[in-house]
């Protein structure tokens, strides 16, 4: 079973390498796997632009995402719990959010630059927008999906509103909150790279790195950078899943 999973990718890579070697695929459009590995080595030790090494690009990107994502989670989770708890609040706030939510996070870039200037704040703001709504909506639906009988069971044990909020709604919504957090980080990570296309003051960031690689005509470095972006996204998701299954042992 395990071996079969790697078989198809391996064959594809071999065929790709073969076609590149006999120049059926032009290397200035799509570099061969070997060239991409060499490109990876270059972004690792030479840097794009030279001196700006991969790990620094990664740190800057992760920092922007962490900032925007943390703010999104810290606001969306409590707000979502409150909105799920209070029908009045839900009715009041929802129309506003329904209006804002369909605007793609990237469409906010111009106004974000106007508000925050080019730099970490705008990037974090874009990521915030991408992550906020999935976390909020999933938190709300997590609260709403709690079996009302559990709330009543708590009431028969003399629970006050505060107890119901912290001992029933919050723990009951945790699985859904995790779903929202995973969708949120996925969207946040995607928007980050696009946000970095448009403006980075510090000269670091994975999106900035692959755009620079395009400017200097290095498709091998572009593809190596894309792979790094994908792998980091995957690792983040795996990490969150691990935290999730540690936290929710009861499902």
């Amino acid at each position: 079973m395990k071996k079969e999973r790697y078989l198809l990718p391996l064959i594809l890579i071999l065929v790709w390498q073969g076609l590149s070697s006999v120049q059926v695929i032009p290397s200035y459009k799509l570099p061969s796997p070997v060239e991409i590995v060499l490109g990876f080595r270059d972004i690792l030790i030479v840097g794009v632009p030279p001196g700006h090494l991969l790990h620094n690009h990664m740190l800057y990107s992760l920092y922007r995402v962490a900032l925007g994502y943390a703010v999104a989670a810290l606001l969306a989770i409590p707000l979502g719990l409150l909105m799920g708890w209070s029908p009045g609040l839900l009715r009041m706030i929802r129309p506003l959010f329904e209006l804002v939510r369909p605007i793609p996070p990237l469409a906010w870039i111009p106004i974000a630059i106007l508000w925050f200037g080019i730099g970490i704040k705008s990037a974090a703001f874009i990521i915030f927008l991408g992550a906020f709504f999935p976390i909020l909506l999933n938190t709300i639906s997590g609260v709403l999906s709690i079996n009302p009988i559990l709330i009543e069971a708590a009431r028969t044990l003399h629970a006050k509103e505060k107890d119901i909020f912290f001992k029933v709604l919050l723990p009951g919504a945790v699985p859904s909150i995790f779903v929202g957090m995973r969708i949120g980080i996925g969207i946040g990570w995607m928007t980050l790279v696009a946000a970095e296309f448009t403006g980075v003051k510090e000269g670091f960031g994975l999106g900035y790195m692959i755009m620079t690689a395009r400017d200097i005509q290095r498709p091998d470095e572009i593809l190596a950078g894309m792979l790094v972006i994908g792998v980091i996204g995957l690792l983040i998701d795996i990490g969150l899943r691990a935290i999730e299954s540690k936290t929710i042992k009861w499902q």
Partner: protein
């Protein structure tokens, strides 16, 4: 000293153009403290609604519930309710479910652990204190649910078809277990809703047969046999027959099938 149901009526108001449902009609009854009283009646007649009103989860449209002459206020510690569907908190272990009420009450951790562990032992849940509800059998879940209610020492315990979903062996064992627990708690009143006449006869001091909706008390049986009872004894069978006679007539009526005899 007694639990008094005074002219209780309940109508669920339909939402918008929805029809309203008349569920309870003038329920008037006194239950002396410390008794085991079963309620039996056609499906959908309003048994759960009555328990919910006594527990304060629902407001009566008219009438009131008194305990020892005082009107019950919502959220009182005097009354505990065991739900039909267990209603365990799935994110809490056996131990955490059982100590939930004490936690809400603000009993400190060590103390409530100690009390909860006593209940775990008493209810034969030893070794399962750190399991989540999904890992427990139906009989165990029901024991957790009962322990979670009894740990608060309510004077009136309301039970809504607690053994309805158990297989018959587990059910018999749970009935005997419940009796032993109840007999160890002087003065605790149990109001027990069931569909099962056998169960009612085996357990109760008193059986109330409800009419179809809107529910009235059709008949009241005093079950005097000493415990432990033999489920197949002639006395038990006699009471069973009498209850069934009234019940089956009422059920036929409510299903509109009087020709099936």
């Amino acid at each position: 000293m007694s639990l008094d149901l005074l002219e209780l009526s309940k109508t669920f108001q339909g939402k918008g153009w929805g029809e309203s449902v008349h569920v309870l009609e003038n329920i008037q009854h006194r239950i002396e403290n410390g008794r085991f009283v079963s309620i039996i009646g056609p499906s959908g007649c309003g048994k759960t609604t009555l328990l919910r009103i006594i527990a304060g989860l629902e407001k009566a449209s008219a009438g009131k519930v008194l305990l020892d002459g005082k009107e019950l206020v919502q959220g009182t510690e005097e009354v505990g309710l065991v739900f039909q569907e267990y209603a365990l908190f799935p994110w809490r272990t056996t131990l955490q479910n059982i100590e939930m009420g004490l936690e809400i009450k603000g009993v400190e951790k060590e103390k409530r652990r100690e009390i909860a562990m006593e209940y775990i032992k008493l209810f034969g849940l030893g070794g399962f204190e750190n399991r989540y509800p999904k890992e427990l059998s139906g009989g165990m879940k029901q024991r957790v649910a009962i322990a979670r209610t009894l740990i608060m020492n309510p004077r009136v315990v309301l039970m809504d078809e607690p053994f309805g979903s158990l297989d018959s062996q587990t059910r018999d064992a749970m009935q005997e277990f419940l009796l032993s627990i109840w007999q160890g708690r002087q003065g605790t009143t149990i109001v027990f809703v069931t569909h099962n006449v056998d169960e009612a006869v085996f357990l109760s001091d008193e059986i109330l047969v409800f009419s179809k909706r809107p529910a009235r008390i059709l008949e009241r049986f005093e079950v005097g046999m000493p415990r432990p009872r033999d489920r197949t004894s002639p006395e038990c069978n006699r009471v069973k027959r009498e209850v069934l006679q009234i019940l089956s007539k009422e059920t036929e009526d409510s299903m509109g099938l009087p020709w099936i005899k």
